[in-house]
């Protein structure tokens, strides 16, 4: 054995040692990885089961929200039916009161004619008899107090009609909340679609791309709908409509809508409302 050969052998032994050491490190890494895998697998299974359970409940949540909308709509229409009946009854009541006042007026006119006639008759009677007759006449004189009460009744009816109108305005909240519920429903359906996609991927089943998942159409509701009776939004709409109406192109098209209507620019709108 020569000197150079010994050096080669020594190098090979060092390399082998390095390989063995690396192998030990890699083995340790894989050992750790396997331990982690064994620990994580049941956990992943539990997460999967939990997602499956939650996901299966989402369509029911979505159905429940739709049912809430339908049931509140049905109840609201029942209330509107009652309000309409109330309005009709109020109108009938007003007509009846007016009819009664007209009849009463006619009767009073007749009574006044009779009183004038009796008064003429009293003038032809002896003093004592005339006094008795005049006393009787005073008892049948039409009183104006009834008329005061009767004339105030239509005012009460009008106020009741105003209250029914106010209730009708408040019932618009049903449409607004149904749009808010539709927005929540859309969110629930989106979450369900994504979870289903995730589960299909996990189980190796074929799944549709997320973009193709069917949910409620977001253009059918206004997610920003709110019940606000301040009138601010109506004022804004009125101001913009007025500005639009005064634009020259709009004035040129009285009866038919113009193709060249001039609308305020965003800068003009912002200036108008200080925003």
């Amino acid at each position: 054995m020569n000197k150079g050969g010994n050096a080669d052998d020594s190098n090979r032994i060092d390399e082998l040692k390095n390989v063995i050491n690396l192998g030990k490190q890699i083995f340790g890494f894989f050992d750790g990885l396997m331990r982690f895998y064994y620990e994580i697998t049941p956990l992943l299974g539990r997460i999967n089961q939990s997602i499956e359970e939650s996901s299966s409940k989402l369509p029911r949540a979505s159905d429940s929200l739709s049912r809430v909308t339908k049931e509140t709509e049905r109840a609201t229409i029942e209330i509107l039916d009652i309000l309409e009946t109330m309005s009709q009854t109020i109108e009938e009541g007003k007509v009846q009161i007016q009819e009664y006042r007209t009849r009463k007026q006619k009767r009073n006119d007749t009574i006044r004619i009779c009183i004038r006639y009796l008064d003429t008759v009293a003038q032809t009677l002896p003093v004592e008899d005339a006094g008795k007759l005049r006393k009787k006449i005073s008892e049948i004189t039409p009183e104006s107090e009834d008329e005061d009460i009767l004339s105030s009744v239509p005012g009460y009816f009008d106020r009741i009609a105003d209250y029914t109108s106010d209730i009708s305005i408040s019932l618009q909240v049903q449409d607004i909340t149904s749009q808010q519920l539709a927005a929540v429903n859309h969110l629930v359906e989106s979450v369900h679609g994504r979870l289903k996609h995730l589960l299909d991927n996990y189980s190796g089943a074929e799944s549709s791309p997320i973009s193709e998942m069917v949910g409620s159409d977001p253009s059918t509701f206004d997610a920003e709908a709110e019940y606000n009776r301040s009138g601010d939004k109506q004022n804004l709409a009125d101001a913009l409509s007025e500005q639009h109406r005064q634009s020259p192109a709009s004035q040129n098209s009285n009866k038919e809508a113009s193709n060249t209507q001039i609308l305020p620019t965003q800068a003009e709108i912002d200036k108008m409302f200080g925003s």
């Binding site: 049903q174 607004i176 749009q179 109506q234 009866k255 709108i269």
Partner: protein, 127 residues
């Protein structure tokens, strides 16, 4: 009482009912209803509609699409359209005006607002 025939378009049965009840109180008893823009388009010709009151957000065809369809039809482009919607931001209002609506009402509305808008539109479109 007005002899004008009004088409009320809204996917919410509640809103259709509220608008129709309000119309009755201000003298418009000749009313036809539709649940979306597509159904509304089919109602205009057979019912000889004079005035359309429509919601914005609806399935099948929105109120804005309905307005554009009416404006693009030579036979019906003159029919006034009043939009009644929850949408009340500047961009939405401008979009509706660009689609050539004749009036814009933000929900919730009062009967007086509906009456004023109809009177105003009737006045300007019959001048």
């Amino acid at each position: 009482m007005s002899d004008k025939r009004v088409l009320v378009v809204d996917d919410s049965a509640t809103m259709r009912r509220i608008v129709i009840n309000t119309l009755k109180t201000i003298g418009y008893t000749n009313v036809v209803e539709a649940a979306d823009g597509k159904e509304a388009l089919g109602q205009i010709y057979p019912n000889n509609i004079d005035f359309v009151i429509t919601d914005w957000n609806m399935p099948n065809m929105s109120g804005i699409e309905l307005t554009k369809a009416i404006r693009n039809d030579g036979n019906y482009s003159h029919i006034p359209v009043l939009i009644v919607t929850t949408r009340g931001i500047k961009e939405d209002i401008v979009e509706a005006l660009r689609a050539k609506v004749n009036g814009y009402i933000v929900k919730p509305f009062t009967p007086q607002v509906l009456k004023d808008k109809i009177d105003q539109i009737m006045k300007t479109t019959t001048q």
